[in-house]
Symmetry: C2
Subunit: 219 residues, 2 copies
Amino acid sequence: MEIKVLKSILGANDQRAQENRTLLEKNKIVAINFTASPGAGKTSLLMATIKALRKEFRIGVVEGDVSSAIDAETVAKEGIPVVQINTGGACHLDATMLSNALDNLPVEDLDVLLIENVGNLICPASFALGEHRKVLVASVPEGHDKPHKYPMMFSNSDAVVLNKIDLLPYVDFDRDKFNAAVNGLREGAIIFPVSCKTGEGMDQWASWLSEQIRLEQGA
Amino acid sequence: MEIKVLKSILGANDQRAQENRTLLEKNKIVAINFTASPGAGKTSLLMATIKALRKEFRIGVVEGDVSSAIDAETVAKEGIPVVQINTGGACHLDATMLSNALDNLPVEDLDVLLIENVGNLICPASFALGEHRKVLVASVPEGHDKPHKYPMMFSNSDAVVLNKIDLLPYVDFDRDKFNAAVNGLREGAIIFPVSCKTGEGMDQWASWLSEQIRLEQGA
């Protein structure tokens, strides 16, 4: 006799994430999921990334926030297709939310989808969206001990962007300790020190991301 | 016929929070719940607060983190009774976790309990612990738009400490916009601009907190 096992919520999310992935690949879209603490500079990084890559790729954006449409308005001013998801109280984006967003984007006219998750270093780690890469945005003023406190998010991410390096002279932040902590969670971790304010480090980051997109497009 | 209604998880949490409150009041302990983004400076504020209030009150601390005991070690060095709660994957402290922590603290010898919640501006807003006051720690590098993005946490807090004001010259942060946003969510909100690094503003904050503690002790 076959025993029926009910799927968990996370199982249902994974199934929906797989459907998103199928839709993305049918339309040859490479999706990047950006996670971070509140105020680490995800939106600034997105804007700088759009500027760097928009000549090469057609870019769309999904903005996730508990409340407000501030970030989507910033993106829309650049003439980039964007959908804002307000989660109400939820502390992460899930695959169903992304599916609804995809229904409202011109998927046939996009090469890249940049997804800004809700500002939270815990819960988004547990919810796949169907993305091709996960990028964690950390920032210097948060301190070098964050990988120890939020290990799951750091170990799940394909790359870490360390933003606000222009503030290094003014705060106690030990780059060696940070790099060692990230590498302790994910051997050979890729870390991009950048300042979205001064532009420092953006070339290396944009060049890596562009390469990842072309890799997935060729796949 | 009486219809039985099962209580929700949140109902069960509220009941346990009430039990914590009863235990706290039996021991004449005033409890303060500190919430913030990762890296806003909760632990630095706790250390500065301990320094300012330890002559007047006997202080205990509960540290909440997904992982690590870094913060509890910092507190223990000061000879303050402290319990570290590691939530595993959970994104907030709940009343049961605090209850377990209280079992491991010398409650008969404490006047004040400082609780450092998990670094997260969303989920901790939904879980009462039995505390007497909620204090939100924001920080300048996070940006002045955070109240718009995390309204529930700001509107639920009795006071907002705006930390890292020593960084104001180096980042784009509009204090008027921040104050207006916080007041829009909670009329007459109390905001303390401080720098745990330079000590600026600490007197006003410590004086307010001391007054709140004495108010509750007299109640």
